[in-house]
Symmetry: C2
Amino acid sequence: MSVRQSLLAILDQGPCYGYQLRAEFDRRTGSAWPLNVGQIYNTLERLERDGLVARGETDAQGHVYWAITESGSAEVSDWLASPVQRGAAVRDELAIKLALAATLPRAEIADVIRAQRESCLARLHDLQDPLDDPASPDTADGLAGALVRDALVSAVEADLRLLARAEERLARHPRHALRLELDRERPKRGRPARSAVV
Amino acid sequence: MSVRQSLLAILDQGPCYGYQLRAEFDRRTGSAWPLNVGQIYNTLERLERDGLVARGETDAQGHVYWAITESGSAEVSDWLASPVQRGAAVRDELAIKLALAATLPRAEIADVIRAQRESCLARLHDLQDPLDDPASPDTADGLAGALVRDALVSAVEADLRLLARAEERLARHPRHALRLELDRERPKRGRPARSAVV
DNA sequence: ACAGCCATGTAACTTGTTACATGATTTT
DNA sequence: AAAATCATGTAACAAGTTACATGGCTGT
């Protein structure tokens, strides 16, 4: 929902045309996530279908302006007022992968962790590259960009910490523990063939 | 892709039937993300369409078994060998929201941060509830569950740290900076109406 | 003239997700 | 007998994403 909500939030500031929306999104998110132009028009039509925006006039240059509706404005307020829900519904890919790898025949998981750490370190290195942006953090542009970089760094650091914790856990447990009693009192009648069991 | 890949990885351990797959996914991910059964069957059909799994026999009880193909096995290997890509392509909802809120008329962003922090703290409290799971961390079940909990906690902690950094940045900058020169040398011809500008 | 950006749009597709229908078996 | 769980499936939809077609305008 981020793209959808973002476009809506931008339109809440005043009418825009499609191409402009892309530039605004790009600018306001520090150009961290390139957005295909086509998606703008798709999203606008879906927002229109849902009564959150309305097609406005076309100016002399042929720009098709879109304006937010009252419902749209209300949704923006809701969005800003309600926290981003993570963990509960949203699946964390790395978490799932680690957990799953832990239930798969051993040896794998150590490799998974190693590869992931390398990737994270490389990313961290990239993020700390000073070439990032010429915008100073004194403008809102720079501020938004700085916030985004903070977020990206923060996320990578969290991943690295998680990987460390995972390794600790693995080291603390005897390696045979992983294959121990995987099929306990599970489905009773639901596991006739033993094939699926680790 | 997490569900898709997870099911494939489980099937790589041996044939399963649909309902069983849900139980396995549930078990191997510490029951952190409930999975609608219907999605299993959808995903299986899509995996079959892509030649990654094949319908197997039906046993006496009527269970329809699915088996992984060679391509499927190869994809599992690929999955396990390649790190989860975050940040680059994947949009971070909270990051986007903060960055965007920073470019919106002031006052909002402080509220956003406050609301998000409350949500994170509440979640952290929930996660640290000891009622979580009765499974000991000595089995792979418990290990997987522990890894998932680690991941969830880690993510929330990262969010909290990010919120703190964001507040620091906001405090460090004069509040008028946010509205300063938002429309610099941007689209040249692309911003005729001033409406969209903050 | 030509390359490249600005600008709008369309079509197709992916994964995730839910709601529902259906029946068998098990538990209470 | 009724309620719950097991089990398979179908239909529809949401949001994201890409590739492509089509022009106009701009700079070299």
